[in-house]
């Protein structure tokens, strides 16, 4: 069928509700990339095979990501009339036990993490257990889901399920009840700012584009999430592609653009696959194409797959890449809103911005503006990763403190180790020390502190992370990814990288620190595009907040974190070593010798200080001599 009217939407909504809340058991397996990386596919298969073998009738669906990646693979089970129970770290073996339990008519409590309360619960719903509710878990307690509202709850490709959870209400409202200018006004009133990291007011960008001369105009979605350590956009595209597509159609109506492009990063094959399917399906249903919902407005959408260039996340480079050329940036102004794709007025927004737009139009600007704090309204999604106990995707109102994020939601350091700092904004951002964790997370505060909000990467560092090594890591990245068009970025990143390498090899001097700072400022102020202008941030912030670590390297030849290879040695403590032989087998350099059940020894001449033995030793018998 084609959706032509609101009544058609209601029909699909009813279908979606019966898919989400069927009259038999429904088992959902989180099968976004993070779930798949921990074996969700074999769990899914085990569930299917066992259900078939046992003759159990059920709905088995693949959903997206619930965000609590630490606990993947996640499986949730819903029995008719009951809330969904989420199971954590499910193995194929446990999956088969789950089916067996269902056959007996009883859900097991072993491995159960929490209950997902059904928002629009029918009155006959009974609570099956005394498990905590998912939103009550410390990981979720401070979260508020707007962009991730459907993530992990629906079958990402099933349009009916998206509609059942309020999807396409925003588009219907925009197309059928609001003028294009009123839609722009609504977005302005919401206070939404670009979630790609820049934080430019979205509504104002739309207004500039709407007022600009020139047709046709274009809508672009930036899904080239290249920031290493961040995966918010991947998750949204894999888990809820229609929310982004709907937002883009709304944007097209608002600025008068009949065409859009969704640019997806090549390293995300599953996201490419899902958005491609979703676009096809939306077209079949009449939610893309001509005369959408009988409004007379038409919008077509094309997917463009990137090809592995970080710089294409920069908007002018991305537009050049779509046009078919090299993904090289150009100077701004003119900004894309007046001169973008093929020189035409173009609105380019991030995946999460588009996902927010569809929610804002459905629920209203006032609702959205009521979330967060003044000037920083709404929610933002972070990928909380690195040396933190609870890794995962976290959506919070702006204004939450770093402390609440890392200690509250993240549960503090990994394995109880002390958290030293956090990197926000990836290679464009900065490392903030733990003593600044009282700072609220908003665009201005993070920028003042020398970092940036960025698109949402949040990598936690602990006492075993060397900040000089981290700075060098980021410079290796930006040096590799610099497109080479402008000299400050091309040469400056290399020069900074070389100095940092010298320092971690124990060959740096105090003078290097001043030189490093000087080059960093020079690159920041004179580079052509955002890549070069922000590339020095990791250097500048680590110099500012962790200068003692730099000094230890250059003045004392000492790496306090025990990471830099030239400055450490590894030793096996004979009194602790049980002679299990694991380190001997794993050592890539063949530097470890020893008889079984006798203490082993590392040959310092052969040892490359890779610390693999330190990682694998079951009794912590390896000492890092700093």
């Amino acid at each position: 069928m084609k959706v032509r009217t609101r009544t058609d939407l209601d029909t699909l909504r009813a279908e979606g509700l019966s898919a989400l809340y069927p009259s038999r058991a429904r088992i959902a397996v989180g099968m976004a990339t993070c779930g798949l990386a921990t074996g969700a596919a074999s769990v899914y298969q085990a569930l299917r095979d066992e259900a078939e073998a046992q003759g159990l009738e059920l709905d088995l669906v693949a959903t997206g990501c619930l965000g609590y990646c630490q606990q993947e693979p996640l499986v949730d089970v819903r029995l008719p009339g009951q809330d969904r129970i989420v199971y954590a770290r499910v193995t194929p073996h446990r999956a088969r036990e789950l089916i067996a339990a269902l056959v007996r008519g009883k859900l097991p409590m072993e491995g159960a993490l929490a209950v997902i309360p059904q928002e629009d619960a029918p009155p006959d719903r009974t609570r099956p257990t005394d498990l905590p509710l998912l939103p009550e878990l410390p990981f979720y307690a401070r979260q508020q889901k707007v962009i991730l509202r459907n993530s992990g709850l629906i079958d990402p490709l099933r349009l009916e399920e998206y509609i059942a959870r309020g999807g396409y209400q925003g588009l219907a409202r925009a197309l059928l009840t609001l003028s294009p200018q009123a839609v722009v006004d609504e977005v302005i009133a919401s206070g939404l700012r670009g979630r790609g990291g820049g934080g430019f007011p979205t509504g104002r960008k739309w207004q500039i584009c709407r007022d600009a001369d020139g047709t046709p105009k274009y809508i672009v979605c930036n899904g080239d999430e290249g920031d290493p350590g961040a995966y918010m956009d991947r998750t949204v595209l894999e888990s809820d592609p229609y929310s982004v597509i709907e937002g883009m159609v709304i944007g097209g109506y608002a600025i008068g653009a009949p065409e859009g492009y969704l640019y997806v990063r090549d390293e995300y094959p599953l996201a490419v696959e899902r958005v491609t399917e979703a676009v096809t399906r939306a077209g079949e249903m009449g939610l893309l194409g001509g005369d959408i919902l009988g409004s007379g407005f038409g919008f077509s959408l094309q997917i463009v797959r990137g090809a592995g260039a970080f710089v294409c996340g920069e908007e002018t480079a991305l537009l050049a890449s779509i046009e078919g050329g090299l993904g090289e940036p150009r100077p701004k102004p003119p900004y894309p809103a007046t001169s973008g794709l093929w020189g035409q007025p173009t609105v380019i927004n991030n995946v999460k911005t588009w996902g927010s737009v569809s929610a804002i139009l459905a629920r209203g600007a006032d609702w959205y503006a009521g979330i967060g704090v003044e000037g920083n309204t709404g929610t933002v999604v972070f990928s909380l990763v690195g040396k933190v106990a609870n890794t995962g995707l976290v959506e919070v109102p702006l204004g939450l403190t770093l402390q609440e994020m890392i200690e509250g939601i993240g549960g503090g350091g990994l394995d109880g180790k002390a958290v030293k700092g956090v990197q926000t904004g990836g290679p464009s951002g900065g490392c903030l020390p733990a003593r600044l964790f009282q700072l609220p997370i908003d665009y201005e505060t993070l920028t003042e502190a020398g970092s940036i909000m960025g698109s949402g990467g949040m990598v936690v560092m602990d006492e075993e992370t060397c900040m000089v090594d981290v700075a060098r890591y980021f410079l290796t990245f930006t040096m590799d990814e610099s497109c080479g068009k402008c000299t400050p970025c091309r040469e400056g990143t290399r020069a900074m990288h070389d100095i940092l390498t010298r320092i971690i090899e124990g060959k740096g001097t105090e003078v290097d620190l001043d030189l490093l700072e000087e080059i960093a400022v020079w690159v920041k102020t004179s580079s052509l595009c955002g890549l070069g202008q922000t590339a020095p941030n990791p250097v500048l912030t680590t110099l500012r907040y962790f200068r003692d670590e730099y000094t230890a390297h250059v003045a004392e030849g000492h790496c306090p974190a025990g990471v830099c290879r030239a400055l450490i040695e590894l030793r096996i403590l004979p009194e602790l070593c049980t002679g299990c032989g694991l380190c001997l087998r794993e050592c890539p350099a063949g530097a470890i010798t020893g008889e079984k059940k006798e203490p082993h020894v590392i040959d310092p001449q052969l040892c490359t200080r890779c610390r693999l033995c330190y990682d694998v030793c079951p009794v912590d018998a390896i000492e890092i001599v700093r």
Partner: protein, 156 residues
Amino acid sequence: MRLIAETPPPPAGVLLAKLHSINAAHGYLPEPELRAAADELGVPLSQLYSAASFYASFSFQPRGRHTIQVCLGTACYIRGGDRLLEKLASLLGVEPGDTTEDRAFTLETAYCFGSCSMAPVIRIDGEPYGRLRADQLPRILKNYRQKGAGDGEEGA
């Protein structure tokens, strides 16, 4: 001049899509295929080469039967991705970027698959392996070696 000015630009994304399809079919970009594609798209070969060498997704060298990508994104790096790489290089006897002599494996690095919460992560032929420890690598490689040998026999 007029003619040039009026020539419409190639449709968006076509060039990249073409390179992707050649790379997917052969595992790399063979020169004859690139020449044919340039003719087909009506663009100079130099333009195609320039794009192909700009983007990291394309390769000009033939590849092994299996491609191992070790993620060196930030989260993977600080949780030991570089050590997985070192171990793999030692197990396979190749440097990152190279292919084993028997053409079974190509070892390469990548910046972030977006599986950061599962760090460290590697991907073999696109299939992700998360929360990986170095001692799990030999068994994983063995599975692919067996698979690879099987594929080779079928192909022969």
